[in-house]
């Protein structure tokens, strides 16, 4: 069975920010809880684009502050594209 969007988002976050996957909860905030520096946030956006083959607006994407927010944002993007 293929992985859910949420699982894939969490894996990307854990890999990019080098944190244990169990810390990557939906409530976790990228900066305060997972220690994402500004440059890592940009890399995270690039990694999401690559993982989901989507185009993210940089300003919109950087407004997303939590893992749950990213799941929601990416799910919406995929839905818009009918995927």
């Amino acid at each position: 069975m293929s992985q859910s969007v949420a699982e894939r988002v969490k894996e990307v976050v854990a890999r990019q920010l080098r944190v244990p996957i169990e810390q990557v909860t939906e409530e976790a905030r990228f900066v305060e809880d997972l220690g994402a520096e500004s440059i890592q946030s940009l890399e995270l956006v690039a990694a999401f684009e690559e993982e989901f083959d989507i185009e993210m607006d940089e300003e919109e994407a950087l407004q997303v502050k939590t893992v749950g927010g990213a799941i929601e944002y990416i799910s919406r993007k995929l839905q818009e594209e009918g995927r």
């Binding site: 940009l42 890399e43 956006v45 607006d57 940089e58 950087l62």
Partner: protein, 410 residues
């Protein structure tokens, strides 16, 4: 006689420096190409012509000159001057002068001017008139301006002359002929500075401060209100106004309002305005195998035919500490280069952020605009609405090439 200085279709050859300015605003010697043409052809009225997208910005920048307004130039013969022409002295023009296929200038009789509705008509009219060949260099690429720069500083020295209007500390050493030094009003040369005029003149324009242990080799032009901080300025450098320069710089042009405060080497480079080069930023200008340098131009690698070509860095671009740039690298406007650990690619599209060996789309247009506003306000200059619109238009127009680069280098 009235004069019209025009930009033609080759402006893309001068990217990234011409994204925000006309090609006749580029520098060579002690002046911009426009300023030199105006010095050589004093006329009661000088008009300017450039591509449409620049017109609002240029009208604000040159409020006393008609921009893309032929009506304002009617009623007199019109001297049409190619803004890329590198003119070495005054000339009597009574017809059309060409250098190979390139039009250098053309005197269009007033009765023909009134029949023209734009630059295209004027150029067609010029083509229909008998022409004469002249051996005049017409710049085709940015590296032409860099290679011609030393010669033009020498030529431009006559507009300044040997004069010391500012303060020259008694311990300053002029190594070479003393009549090849110009120190402008309000400029100050601190103790233990060496001005080496053996190979050409040194022009230090008004209000500039040269700090101790700086060495300036001629021919070099240091523009108004600059600061040199213990710098090693090798021959053939031209800096526009309000630059802060340290480290080693050789045969390079900085348009103005840019900082290269710290150590690091810049050679055979052309740097735009509002650029900040972080400490130790260094560009290569010579390949290890001494072959000619290739650069990206309109998406394709072009052989410059030159052995020494450094970097072309667009306006508002910032580099991190320790950034290393490969020979012949082009970095677009408003880029952020975190060049630690990996060389950026030889072409970085405008508004990109390079970090950890990857190109990303960066923080978005709003954030870049905010940074530009902040850096300009530090010099008490405001980003105009016209400039903001131009930046936004270029941001939109370059989205696709940024998307491609992000895919290629992620």
């Amino acid at each position: 006689m009235k004069v019209l200085i025009y930009e033609d279709e080759t402006y893309e050859n001068f990217y990234p420096l011409t994204y925000l300015r006309a090609s006749w605003e580029l520098r060579c010697g002690a002046f911009s190409l426009r300023q030199r043409i105006e010095h050589l052809f004093p006329a009661e009225q000088v008009g300017l012509w450039a591509r449409d997208i620049l017109v609002p910005v240029l009208r604000r920048r040159y409020p006393d000159k008609p921009v893309n307004d032929l009506k304002a130039l009617e009623g007199d013969d019109l001297l049409l001057v190619n803004g890329r022409a590198l003119l070495t002295g005054p000339m009597d023009v009574d017809g059309v002068l060409k250098s190979g296929e390139e039009l250098v200038c053309a005197l269009i009789p007033k009765e023909k001017v009134s029949g023209c509705s734009g630059l295209e008509d004027l150029l067609e009219t010029a083509e229909s008139l008998p022409s004469e060949q002249r051996d005049i260099k017409v710049a085709r690429y940015l590296w032409d301006l860099i290679s011609e720069n030393p010669k033009f500083i020498e030529l431009d020295f006559k507009f300044f002359g040997p004069k010391v209007l500012g303060k020259l500390h008694p311990s300053v050493v002029v190594y070479g002929p003393e009549d090849k030094v110009y120190i402008g009003e309000g400029a100050e040369i601190h103790p233990y500075v060496v001005i080496d005029t053996r190979n050409g003149p040194v022009i230090v324009d008004r209000g500039t401060e040269v700090h101790p242990f700086t060495r300036i080799e001629g021919p070099s032009y240091i523009g108004p209100n600059c600061t040199l901080l213990g710098a090693k300025i090798r021959e053939g450098c031209s800096f526009g106004p309000v630059c802060r320069i340290g480290g080693e710089v050789e045969e390079s042009i900085v348009q103005g309002y840019s900082n290269k405060y710290h150590d690091g080497f810049l050679g055979h480079a052309y740097v735009g305005e509002w650029v900040n080069l972080g400490a130790l930023t260094t560009n290569s200008d010579l390949k290890n195998d001494y072959s000619t340098v290739q650069v990206y131009l309109k998406g394709k690698l072009v052989d410059t035919g030159e052995l020494k070509v450094g970097s072309f860095i667009g306006d508002h671009t910032k580099t991190s500490i320790g950034t290393l740039l490969n020979t012949g690298t082009t970095i677009g406007i408003m880029c952020n280069i975190v060049g630690v650990g990996a060389l950026p690619p030889k072409y970085v599209p405008p508004f990109s952020l390079f970090v950890n060996g990857k190109i990303t789309k960066g923080l978005g247009f709003k954030a870049l605009l905010e940074t530009a506003r902040t850096s300009m306000s530090r010099r008490k200059i405001e980003l105009s609405t016209e400039e903001e619109h131009l930046l936004r238009a270029i941001y939109e127009a370059t989205k696709e090439e940024r998307r491609e680069a992000v895919k290629k280098y992620r």
